[in-house]
């Protein structure tokens, strides 16, 4: 009997240790293509993995100033694509991103970046008015506009589908993903910003990645 008890205790302790290790080291996956690169260090071959990253960019923000990757140095940020008079998925997506903005407001480790895909209408003044009315009153959430080629090009880098399409309501077709980018510019998560379950997971995962880059 005593033997069984000891065995059970050992099993319990080891499972607690195993479990606590795995839970404290929980990290978000890294998305996108990866390439192994071989190089020599002190005569030994070392293989590095090169991950898909978001390239540098320069867009006009809601204050009509240029916004580049420098703004996000050392920060985690969440990117998405929308337009101000979008009648379909955008309001729901922005309502959900607003939850994250309000939760982490004042935390300088995290920022938000909304790209307008309506390069014709959404000038900085329109974006400013939209941001104010949404309830964004600091620079932690950036709203940017750019040329069609630049915006649609960077959307591909975030793996979000965008297209000008006269056949859909509002004139632009796009996906409502909220994409988490880490300070190394790698994609760490993508969540459907119109799906309540995925938005809840998104909010949880932001805590996970913030813990990783404490």
């Amino acid at each position: 009997m005593k033997k069984y008890f000891g065995g059970a205790l050992a099993a319990l302790i080891s499972s607690v240790i195993l479990y606590s290790c795995s839970s404290s080291e929980k990290k978000l996956p890294i998305y996108g293509e990866r390439n192994p690169i071989e190089r020599e260090v002190d005569g030994k071959k070392v293989i590095d993995t090169v991950y898909h990253t978001i390239p540098n960019f320069s867009f006009l923000n809601q204050d009509s100033t240029a916004l580049t990757q420098d703004f996000f140095n050392g920060k985690i940020y969440v990117a998405n694509f929308f337009f101000t008079h979008c009648p379909s998925i955008c309001p729901t997506m922005q309502r959900n991103l607003l939850k994250a903005y309000e939760k982490y407001k004042g935390n300088d480790k995290i920022a938000f970046l909304s790209h307008s895909i309506d390069f014709k209408y959404d000038q900085p003044s329109v974006l400013k008015d939209y941001a104010n009315k949404l309830g964004v009153d600091n620079d932690q959430w950036q709203f940017v506009t750019g040329s069609k080629a630049d915006i649609y090009g960077i959307a591909e880098k975030y793996m979000v589908y965008t297209k000008e399409d006269a056949n859909v309501p509002g004139g632009y077709d796009h996906q409502g993903y909220l994409v988490i980018i880490d300070p190394e510019k790698r994609i760490r998560g993508a969540y459907d910003g119109t799906n309540e379950e995925q938005v809840n997971q998104f909010l949880k995962d932001l805590d996970v990645i913030l813990a990783e880059y404490k």
């Binding site: 998925i89 955008c90 729901t92 922005q94 009315k133 309830g135």
Partner: protein
Amino acid sequence: MIRRYFFACISLVSILYFLFSCNTDLSVETMQYATNGQKLYVTHCQNCHGAKGEGLGKLYPPLTDVHFLQENRSQLACIVKNGMSGEIKVNNTLYNQQMPGVPQLSAVDIAYVLTYVTTYFGDSKTHFKKEEIEEFLKNCNTQR
């Protein structure tokens, strides 16, 4: 002992009755209109106005202003069908954003969705009738 069980049962039944009787002041027909209207609301209105009619910031007005719903009762059908623009005051806050209409909705669809909005977010106890909506739509000011 049996008596005690009997009283317990009676009180349980009456508690349940009070709990579920909140909705009984709406007629079955009104409830049916509201249920049909909810589906249309989710498809055409919820993105902007929210699942609880709460609106979004100062972009999209909430649909919970009982006075607005009452005062503009005869205009609501036109707003749903043709959209609206210009400044409006809802819950003492000014809103000025263009709203697209949903022109494909029929009169009975509009009756459903307005019944949902006015009974769930407002305090209405009755439903909009199809004939009533048809009359409202004849008098729409298309200049809005």
